[in-house]
């Protein structure tokens, strides 16, 4: 739909196939409709609604599997095989769909255990939940500015509402207000940036923008304008990722929201944001890779890498330090999630010229980390949730003597927390490890010399990362100490067996993912490489298009 008047617009495009490629999203939408329709038929019973949702998720999962089969060989990127296409279906998006569904299932479980009994507005809740889910799926599967904006909004708006879902709850109301306003502002700024980028290049496709940028670096003022546009655009993503200084909403919203909602937001919304960032980074790398003059591309990429890197470093440092004093475990975990977003951003800062081997290390590390992070947080929040439901408090004192009160909660909690710290024998370590390795890869870049070279950035970020690991240990230990060393003789915690299964499952999985780190890493590598090659392939087309646009005569 790039150019009007072209009669053979749909020529060579099998619409059915493309619809099939995006069937999971369609199914999600259908599920939402079903949830709307359901009360009329089945009544508003939470369980019945939930059943419908389970059903919808099941089908989605099924479709996702089929799509996964289709894109297994990689690089099948849906509509955007045509220049200016808007959606991409490749390993990355499909893989994220799997993660999202798994996590959604986890959150559903938590809701089932925690709130289903008292839930009044199940349909609304699920519509919002699924809506944000859809938005996040879309976020990961596009490079088109318009789609990105839409997706982010689609992911955000329901989140605002779902944070303040409990109408009678002051804190929740306040949280949602803040979240909403802050989100709106960021979205506005992002849109403005988007408009500038469009104005500069004349295309909404990030890939085109990338290749144009790298071809026209010589144009002085445009470079600045471009940087400004990108910066503004990044604000939106930074808001999603809750990178400093756009993280203020995070602790408030997390604390105010219902715990399953917090869990939901803590992982997927950040994960989606980061993967989106990863996609854009890849696109830029591809643009640089196809470039005849690597040095030029490096000169463009290096400052970008430093920008992201510094933001990442600041983010994880601030997050860790801020978490120190928290009394509320929920809020502490919120800050810790900020810190982890920082770690993950470090990985995305690894821009590497594709001629270097292991150029995909950064994104690989990111993918691996997201998977592991998902498990860790699900576990940690799961335990917290059960404690909160039982004691009604999310203060750290509620955990006192948990080892005696309910060892099957305490042990997985320790596992998850230690994994969050990044201690062997838990997968958190391997996640951090891949990030460090990715940073180390920067040593091999063509321009690994000079004060602000990429290698310097790599080692600096590495040191920041390990030092942060060390700092973070303390506040995670505070919970451990409460659970293990202290005991004020509170009564034992009543825990639903499903919940125990879930958290312990997470703990075991975390352990297993360290021992069997290989497969996960391999998969991540494959996904990244496919995405990368695909981008490189299409880069040529983008260039021609870009130049065509510039000439003004298609």
């Amino acid at each position: 739909m790039a150019l009007l008047g072209q009669t053979d617009l749909w020529a060579g495009i099998d619409v059915g196939e493309h619809l099939f490629l995006f069937s999971p999203m369609i199914v999600l939408v259908c599920t939402m409709l079903a949830v709307v329709a359901c009360p009329i038929i089945l009544g508003r019973g939470p369980r019945s609604i939930a059943t419908v949702v389970w059903l919808g998720l099941g089908i989605t999962l099924f479709m996702t599997f089929r799509v996964a089969g289709a894109v297994a060989d990689g690089g099948v990127s849906g509509l955007s095989t045509q220049p200016g296409g808007m959606l991409i279906a490749d390993n990355l998006s499909v893989g994220f769909q799997f993660l999202l569904l798994a996590f959604l299932a986890g959150v559903m479980l938590m809701w089932w255990m925690g709130s289903s009994a008292t839930e009044r507005n199940a349909p609304e809740f699920f519509i919002l939940l699924l809506g944000s889910a859809l938005g996040m799926v879309l976020m990961v599967s596009t490079t088109n500015l318009l789609m990105i904006v839409m997706a982010i909004e689609l992911a955000s708006l329901p989140s605002y509402a779902i944070v303040g879902f409990e109408k009678r709850n002051r804190v929740a109301a306040e949280a949602s207000l803040k979240y909403m306003i802050f989100g709106a502002v960021c979205a506005a700024i992002m849109l403005y940036g988007a408009s500038l980028l469009y104005g500069l290049v004349g295309s909404l496709d990030m890939a085109v923008i990338a290749s144009y940028t790298i071809d026209n670096l010589s144009l002085g003022p445009n470079r600045v304008l471009l940087a400004v546009g990108l910066l503004c655009f990044l604000v939106g993503i930074a808001f999603k990722v809750s990178a400093v200084p756009f993280h203020f909403w995070c602790p408030d919203a997390f604390e105010g929201a219902r715990i399953e909602v917090t869990t939901w937001l803590s992982v997927v919304s950040k994960g989606a944001g980061l993967l989106l960032l990863a996609r854009l980074v890849t696109v830029f790398c591809a643009g640089g890779g196809a470039d005849a003059n690597p040095a030029l591309s490096i000169t463009f990429l290096t400052p970008l890498a430093w920008t992201i890197g510094i933001i990442a470093a600041v983010t994880c440092t601030v997050g860790n330090f801020a978490a120190y004093k928290q009394r509320s475990v929920k809020r502490m975990l919120a800050y810790s999630s900020i810190a982890h977003a920082g770690y993950m951003m470090m990985a995305t800062a690894v821009f590497i010229h594709p001629s270097i081997s292991g150029s995909t290390a950064g994104i690989t590390a990111l993918l691996t980390y997201v998977v592991i992070y998902l498990l860790m947080n699900l576990g940690a929040f799961g335990v917290t949730a059960m404690v909160v439901w039982d004691t009604g408090s999310d203060k750290i004192e509620a955990f006192t003597g948990l080892m005696r009160r309910s060892p099957w909660l305490a042990v997985p909690m320790v596992a998850c927390l230690m994994s969050l710290v990044g201690m062997p024998p838990f997968a958190g370590f391997i996640g951090k490890w891949w990030i460090l390795v990715a940073l180390g890869r920067l040593q091999n870049t063509a321009t690994s010399s000079g004060m602000f070279s990429l290698s310097t950035l790599g080692w600096l970020l590495m040191i920041v990362a390990v030092v942060n690991t060390f700092i973070s240990l303390y506040y995670y230990l505070r919970i451990v100490v409460q659970m293990m060393f202290r005991d004020d003789g509170q009564r034992t915690v009543r825990t639903p067996i499903v919940g125990l299964a879930m958290v312990n499952g997470c703990a075991v999985a975390l352990f297993a993912l360290l021992i069997f780190a290989q497969p996960l890493k391999r998969t991540a590598e494959r996904f990244t490489r496919n995405m990368y090659t695909a981008s490189v392939e299409q880069d040529g087309k983008h260039k021609t298009l870009a130049s065509a646009i510039q000439r003004g005569t298609p």
């Binding site: 207000l177 803040k178 306003i181 802050f182 502002v185 960021c186 700024i189 403005y192 940036g193 500038l196 104005g199 500069l200 144009l219 002085g220 003022p221 445009n222 600045v224 304008l225 400004v228 910066l231 503004c232 604000v235 200084p245 756009f246 203020f248 909403w249 440092t317 601030v318 860790n320 330090f321 801020a322 978490a323 120190y324 004093k325 928290q326 800050y335 700092i471 303390y474 506040y475 510039q550 003004g552």
Partner: protein, 781 residues
């Protein structure tokens, strides 16, 4: 005899006390009293004594020079460990000295063991009510093992190991009554003081190891000689510390060990306190054997000595012998008195070693071992008899109650006073040995250094005929090699000694060896007068005169088990020493003193210098003992009255002596207190500085955290943002509603970012450098 027979016998002799030690450790309590004691006696010392005797006889009467030399040469070695690249061997240093020492130790120790069986039978084996009889003999056996091992060791490291082990035994035995505070304190003092000496020993070891590249005594000696000859190794480095060359430091370092064990002057403080142990212990360890080990060590490393080192040694010895003798004069505790006399005698030995009287010093060691052991046993008898009364002022007139003790003790007194008939070869052991030392000292201080030796070529046999004193001295060597002993004509150590010496031209020795300062010699002479006085005083106060304390007197008694050893040792004192031990020493001397830089002087040969020395001494100290006895008799003939009057007259001197020159107090103040203070400081530092730093670091991190957590997130950002808001509002001319809440602060941060966008946009958008714009304007209708 077959190969290694001697070594095997000796090794067995060393092993058997160890066996008895473990036996006693495991079954001691069951054996009980007195069986445990007898195990100790028979297995612990009986077997070694037999072995020692066999070896002695075999070695001395059935081996000729050559075979002895050969045996020494091919003595047994077994590789124990690798020290870096250097192999450390366990081996037997087999020569006459070893044999003699071995026999002496076993003999004396055996009788002391026997004595202990009786001595410990009384209640003195109890430690706060519990019978520790077996434990005592276990320790004694362990000591036997360590001491014999020390004597046998062919290797400096093993010398050091056994050195420490005897130290341990002395620690355990001094602290035998460890329920008594003073006993355990004394034990600790002994061990730590010895450790100070061992510190020096260790440094000596380091130098030996590093520069001579071996720890074996003989190898070390040969390498030392080679390096001296070639000026390499330890002689290569120009390093000096207070005027001492590295070689000297090595010698002094090794000697430091001896200072500790033999309680030489600065480190002597532990020996008097060591009397806290049971008397047999004092007799065995702190009179006869262990304390003599220092002298033995010096004798063993004599070949590594330099003139300066020897000068240092003789100085220390001289100081010790004088100062301690003075203290001995005023002691009233019988054991303390003996202890100080021991110190003084040890001083004589060390002094002898220092001025080159190698044979004499060792000879004195042996004789002293006999009579001092006897004296201590006697005192033990007295103490036991008098129900642990040690104060001589309360005694007196005991000769009726314990005649044997009395007269054996008297023999000892005679011996230590060097009683003999001058100018004729008649006298007790102490007479010969001390005279020899003095003779050599005389030679070194008067004859030595007169005239110049540079003209002197390497010595030959014909020098015997010469009569001038100048040429006499060097000839001493050849002399005692040729006919060191009138008794034993065959004397083959000579050849190897001659070879050993021809490798080191004597002229050098004479150049580098300074004569002995005369004051040293004179101090030694004076002390030779003091010794008989305080010994006589001791004996007289104890046994003669009228009983001064009825209570003590009437309980006094003596038991056969205890005086038999006394008698035996007395006989030994009278006969064995001169006619048996000295020849052995002299025989060993040749090889054992083949030093490149220093030489040993035989004090008992018929060469002009020595003869003149002796003839001088005849009048010098020949009748010293008579004088000493007479003085003591005059003063203490009737009780303490006269003594007290003198005491009042000379009170400053007396107080000084009674308080042992306040050295203990000084050490207590400087070392003990100082060290504890240092420790306390360190502990305090550790607790309040080092630890605090880390806790502070933690605290600071936490503060920092709360800062970024609360300040940065709340006030910091708010502050910045408020500022921005303020300005932006001022720009807008709206002064009102400066109050900002949190959400708007959040927003403002984003606004701040966006402001950048705005400025850039306006700037670049309006200037014509905007290529996009140009192309657009071209398109405009």
């Amino acid at each position: 005899m077959g190969e290694h027979t001697y070594e095997i016998l000796l090794a067995a002799a060393v092993a058997s006390p160890l066996v008895s030690f473990w036996l006693l450790v495991f079954f001691g309590p069951r054996l009980g009293k007195p069986k445990a004691g007898w195990v100790g006696v028979l297995l612990g010392m009986g077997v070694p004594l037999i072995m020692g005797t066999i070896v002695m006889i075999g070695w001395w009467f059935f081996e000729d020079e050559a075979s002895r030399a050969a045996l020494t040469e091919h003595a047994f070695r077994w590789k124990w460990a690798n020290l870096g690249a250097v192999a450390v061997d366990i081996g037997v240093k087999l020569d006459s000295l070893t044999v003699a020492m071995f026999f002496m130790v076993t003999f004396i120790a055996f009788w002391i063991f026997v004595f202990s069986v009786g001595y410990m039978k009384g209640h003195s084996d109890e430690v706060s009510g519990q019978c520790k009889y077996w434990r005592f003999f276990a320790y004694l056996s362990l000591f036997g093992f360590a001491m014999l091992g020390l004597v046998l060791s062919s290797n400096l490291l093993f010398l050091f190991i056994f050195w420490e082990l005897v130290g341990l035994c002395s620690y355990l035995l001094i602290g035998f009554y460890f329920d008594k505070a003073f006993a355990s304190k004394a034990a600790m003092k002994a061990f730590i003081t010895n450790r100070v000496g061992d510190f020096g020993f260790l440094i000596g070891l380091m130098l030996v190891y590093f520069h001579l590249g071996t720890l074996d005594l003989d190898q070390a000696a040969t390498r030392f000689a080679e390096q001296y000859a070639s000026g390499t190794g330890i002689f290569a480095s120009g390093f000096t510390m207070f005027g001492w060359s590295l070689a000297t430091i090595m010698g002094v370092g090794l000697f430091c060990g001896a200072m500790g064990k033999s309680a030489q002057f600065p480190l002597h403080v532990w020996l008097p306190d060591a009397m806290a142990g049971p008397t047999p212990v004092s007799a065995l360890i702190h009179a006869a054997t262990m304390v003599a080990a220092g002298v033995y060590l010096v004798a063993r490393v004599y070949r590594l000595m330099t003139p300066d080192a020897l000068m240092f040694i003789s100085t220390i010895g001289c100081l010790t012998l004088t100062l301690m003798a003075l203290i001995a004069m005023v002691q009233v505790d019988i054991k303390k008195c003996l202890a100080y006399s021991t110190l003084s005698q040890l001083g004589y030995m060390i002094f002898g070693m220092g001025c080159g009287a190698w044979v004499a010093a060792l000879f004195h060691l042996v004789t002293h071992a006999f009579f001092k052991a006897m004296l201590f046993l006697g005192s033990g008898q007295v103490i036991e008899g008098c129900h642990h009364e040690q104060d001589m002022r309360k005694m007196g007139g005991l000769r009726h109650k314990m005649p044997f003790t009395c007269w054996t003790f008297f023999v000892g007194v005679l011996a230590i006073s060097g009683a003999g008939i001058p100018a004729m070869h008649i006298g007790l052991g102490g007479y010969f040995s001390k005279d020899e030392i003095l003779a050599v000292a005389y030679t070194r201080s008067y004859v030595w250094g007169e005239g110049d030796f540079s003209k002197h070529e390497a010595h030959e046999g014909e020098h015997h005929s010469s009569t001038s004193t100048v040429h006499d001295v060097p000839v001493q060597l050849a002399a005692y090699q040729e006919h060191g002993e009138p008794e034993h004509a065959d004397h083959g150590g000579a050849h190897e000694s001659v070879d050993a010496h021809s490798s080191a031209p004597l002229a050098l020795i004479f150049e580098h060896t300074k004569p002995l300062p005369k004051w040293m010699f004179w101090l030694a002479i004076i002390t030779a007068y003091i010794t008989p006085f305080y010994m006589m005083r001791c004996w007289w106060l104890t046994f003669m005169g009228k009983p001064r304390d009825e209570h003590v007197h009437e309980h006094a008694h003596e038991t056969p088990m205890m005086f038999i050893p006394l008698v035996v040792l007395a006989i030994g004192t009278v006969f064995a020493s001169y006619y048996l031990f000295r020849p052995l020493m002299a025989d060993a001397a040749g090889a054992a003193t083949a030093a490149p830089m220093v030489m040993a002087i035989d004090g008992d040969v018929h060469t002009p210098a020595i003869t003149s020395a002796h003839s001088w001494l005849v009048y010098g100290v020949g009748f010293a003992f008579v004088a000493g006895f007479a003085l003591a008799y005059l003063i203490y003939r009737d009780g303490l009255a006269v003594g007290d009057r003198i005491k009042q007259r000379l009170w400053p001197l007396h107080t000084l002596l009674v308080n042992k020159y306040y050295i203990d107090e000084l050490y207590e103040l400087v070392w003990v207190k100082g060290c504890v203070l240092l420790a306390k400081t360190a502990g305090f530092f550790d607790k309040w500085v080092v630890d605090l730093i880390f806790n502070l670091a933690a605290a600071i991190t936490e503060r920092l955290a709360s800062f970024s957590g609360m300040i940065v997130d709340k006030h910091g950002v708010d502050g910045v943002v408020n500022g921005i808001a303020q300005t932006s509002m001022d720009v807008a001319g709206v002064a009102s509603s400066a109050q900002t809440g949190r959400i708007r602060n959040y927003v403002l941060v984003t606004a701040a970012v966006a402001a950048v966008v705005l400025i850039c946009l306006v700037w670049f958008g309006t200037n014509s450098g905007y290529s996009g714009a140009r192309s657009f304007s071209a398109l405009s209708p």
